[in-house]
């Protein structure tokens, strides 16, 4: 396979959209429950953990950019083949694809779980899954430009969700944050690690990079997009800590959704029900981007047509969804994905960077000799 990918210029899009892609890919089901997990580790200083997570995120994404810049127009699949050779490179590429698949699965399972708990306890997972899969197939068939457009619109259309949070803000008890700066450094770092599942999704930069038109302007939208994600997580976590009692928060599975349970207007009594459906707009970019990443990866690695992967993956997802029924299985899957994601997304690029740099240095003299 070719290391650099030849992307036709009609498929490319401006770097500006990276803001929406990053936010769309990162924000999904993770943010619905993240306050609990961060709070369990870092207590009232959770907000520091989240800020640390932003620093970590910036570092990792910068490392990813440095890796990508060593090549003309490559993605992670090409880079790995170039560095580790055909077999190991393809194996690592497959790991990425599997990771995308299981992320997709965990997002769907978690969302269906929420629908069951909050709205329809008796609905069959299969029919919910089928509805989603149809939507995903429809979007992915449109190609990368459709996906980017969808992400753009859905991120904008769902951004109002944060506004009704003024209600829990007025009921917050700021005393829950005192005394400040009390968590130890390991606790803070554990809190940061708990945040990582909610901020995964930026790995799509590794895949989508060749599709960006003006690569020199990539930094600003990229880091702003990451910042928007972090700010959303920060807002819901801070409100949750103030709104719920510490003992209570440790037990609440979807603290972010529960924040909306008290919001009520004369024209809509239960806003939380609406919010849960609105959340579909939040997770759809997430699902579609991961599905696209999977199909594109298969095409790059094994030259399998994107449609074949799309339909096969959809069927496998549906089968998984119909068989995973208990909430503890969903939690287990999500936890393992979070663990794997941490190593694959936050640690692996740091290992990859020196190898890429060394390889490039070694290659240069050889190329000069040839001349």
């Amino acid at each position: 396979m070719e290391i650099n990918s030849n992307v036709k210029s009609r498929l490319q899009f401006p770097a500006f959209y990276l803001f929406f892609i990053m936010y769309g890919a990162q924000t999904g089901v993770g943010i619905m429950g993240v306050p609990k997990y961060i709070f369990k580790e870092a207590k009232q200083d959770s907000w520091i953990s989240i800020l640390l997570a932003y620093i970590l995120l910036i570092t990792i994404v910068s490392v990813m950019l440095v890796i990508l810049k060593q090549y003309e127009n490559a993605d992670i699949f090409g880079i790995q083949v170039d560095i580790f050779g055909k077999w190991i490179g393809k194996l690592f590429g497959t790991i990425y694809i599997l990771y995308f698949f299981f992320t997709l699965l965990s997002i769907l399972l978690n969302y269906i779980e929420v629908i069951k708990v909050y709205l329809f306890p008796t609905i069959s997972s299969f029919s919910m899954g089928l509805l989603f899969i149809i939507l995903i197939i429809y979007c992915v068939l449109g190609g990368i430009r459709t996906i980017v457009g969808l992400t753009f619109f859905f991120v904008i259309l769902s951004s109002w969700i944060l506004f009704p949070l003024y209600d829990p803000i007025t009921r917050m008890d700021w005393d829950h944050f005192v005394p400040m700066f009390h968590a130890t450094v390991p606790e803070l770092l554990k809190g940061t690690k708990a945040t990582t599942y909610s901020i995964t999704g930026f790995e799509l930069l590794f895949v989508i990079y060749p599709f960006i038109q003006n690569k020199e302007k990539i930094k600003l939208p990229l880091f702003l997009g990451l910042g928007y994600t972090i700010i959303s997580i920060l807002i819901v976590t801070v409100i949750s800590i103030g709104y719920f009692s510490p003992l209570d928060l440790a037990d609440i599975d979807w603290a972010t959704l529960n924040l909306f349970k008290n919001v009520s207007y004369s024209f809509i009594e239960r806003l939380d029900n609406l919010i849960i459906f609105e959340w579909m707009m939040v997770i759809l970019p997430n699902l579609v981007l991961h599905m696209w990443g999977m199909t594109y990866g298969m095409k790059r690695l094994y030259k399998i047509s994107q449609k074949t992967t799309l339909y096969t993956a959809s069927i496998i997802t549906l089968i998984f969804i119909s068989f995973i029924k208990h909430d503890k299985d969903v939690t287990m899957l999500t936890d393992s994905i979070a663990q794997i994601g941490f190593w694959l997304l936050f640690v692996y690029p740091l290992i990859l960077l020196p190898i890429v740099l060394v390889k490039k240095k070694m290659r240069r003299p050889r190329a000069e000799v040839k001349k």
Binding site: T122, N258, K261
Partner: protein, 380 residues
């Protein structure tokens, strides 16, 4: 080809909609209020007030009853009696009987918290003698359904009056779980055949341990939080004001003291731990009030008389606050959250429930009330 694909997708999506269980609005009875009472053998009885869409005015006259050991079980039991599908999605008021409250209401709050389909915005209240008695009260004396009426007096009073304390499920739970503060709830009783707010229920954790009469309601609220736009009255001793009397009536004619009515513009409350060793707390209250009524003509154009009035009012309120606090200490219920302040001043920010229960009866609180009369109406 594209058209076929698209129409196929649309058709599948449409048929999938029916996978969600249908609920016809005519067959649904929406529970608006629920009363829970203790009956023998650890069983509870629920009284449900139902809203029905097919009825002309929406109300179903007869409440539905159910028995069981759990709230949900009692609800299922009540469904046997009702020809509607009873849904809980719009409960506005949860009433608990006095006997139940004395044993602790937390076991019955679990399902409200666990079942995500229930709103968090419902109000909680205690009823005396039983919730059933209040909810099944003959409705002739009040215009609408009792549940609606009760929700109304809690809701309507809330924005402009601090009376009664408007406590939703979430605020109750937060205070229950927080260490160093105990929840309170309004108590609803029947007086002259009309259900009304009788007093404030003081809780220690989830158990009702005492009551504070409704005349202390406003002060109670002021001690808890900022209160805006309310009215209250005070009775002051006549003695210090005698020299400012305008002389329409002789001091000897006035026997029962000076009565004044005040409009509260805004109150502020701030508590702090002054002396950690002696566990001395200080609560500063500033009240911004308007004078609305005064029983005797006092020369208010005199700067000194106003200051005196402000000072006397402050003294009186301080005394009443001390009274309330002494009673709370006796009940060992920390409704004002001094424990939270104490916790924040601890080195590691930790305080256990047990520690605080031992410390609390021995703490001292100094109340400083500063009132400012900003306006005294159109006459001096």
């Amino acid at each position: 080809m594209k058209l076929i694909q698209c129409s196929l997708l649309i058709m599948v999506s449409l048929t999938l909609v029916s996978c969600i269980p249908t609920k016809e609005i005519e067959r649904i009875g929406v529970i608006t209020s629920r009363g829970t009472d203790q009956i023998e053998d650890g069983e509870i009885e629920t009284t449900l007030m139902i809203y029905q869409f097919t009825k002309k005015n929406g109300m179903v006259a007869m409440p539905v009853f159910g028995k069981g050991t759990t709230i949900k079980g009692a609800l299922e039991n009540a469904k046997l009696e009702s020809n509607f599908d009873l849904v809980e999605g719009k409960i506005q008021l949860e009433l608990y009987g006095m006997e139940l409250a004395k044993k602790g209401i937390f076991p019955y709050l679990d399902t409200l918290n666990r079942d995500a389909r229930l709103p968090d915005s419902m109000y909680l209240a205690i009823s005396v003698p039983t919730a059933k008695e209040i909810l099944t009260k003959d409705e002739q004396s009040i215009s609408n359904n009792v549940g609606e009426h009760l929700h109304g007096i809690i809701e309507e009073n809330a924005p402009d009056h601090p009376i009664p304390p408007r406590i939703t499920l979430q605020s109750f739970l937060t205070k229950y779980y927080d260490i160093g503060i105990d929840p309170t709830l309004p108590i609803i009783g029947i007086e002259d055949n009309i259900p009304k707010i009788k007093s404030i229920a003081i809780f220690r954790n989830d158990k009702l341990v005492g009551e504070i009469e409704s005349k202390y309601l406003l002060l109670f609220k002021i001690l808890e939080q900022t209160v805006k736009n309310d009215k209250f009255q005070l009775s002051l001793p006549m003695k210090p004001f005698e020299k400012y009397l305008k002389g329409y009536r002789k001091p000897s004619q006035i026997k029962d003291g000076l009565h004044i009515a005040l409009g509260l513009v805004k109150s502020k409350e701030h508590s702090s731990l002054v002396d950690k060793q002696n566990k001395l707390f200080q609560t500063n209250i500033t009240l911004d009030v308007n004078l609305l009524e005064i029983s005797e003509s006092i020369d208010l154009s005199d700067e000194k008389s106003l200051t005196l009035l402000e000072k006397e009012m402050g003294k009186k309120i301080e005394k009443r606050a001390q009274e309330i606090f002494a009673r709370l200490q006796e009940m060992n219920a920390d409704s004002f959250g001094y424990g939270k302040i104490y916790r924040m001043k601890q080195k590691n920010g930790k305080l256990t429930e047990k520690e605080w229960r031992e410390i609390y009866p021995n703490i001292k609180v100094e109340f400083n009330v500063k009132t400012t009369i900003s306006r005294h109406g159109s006459v001096d």
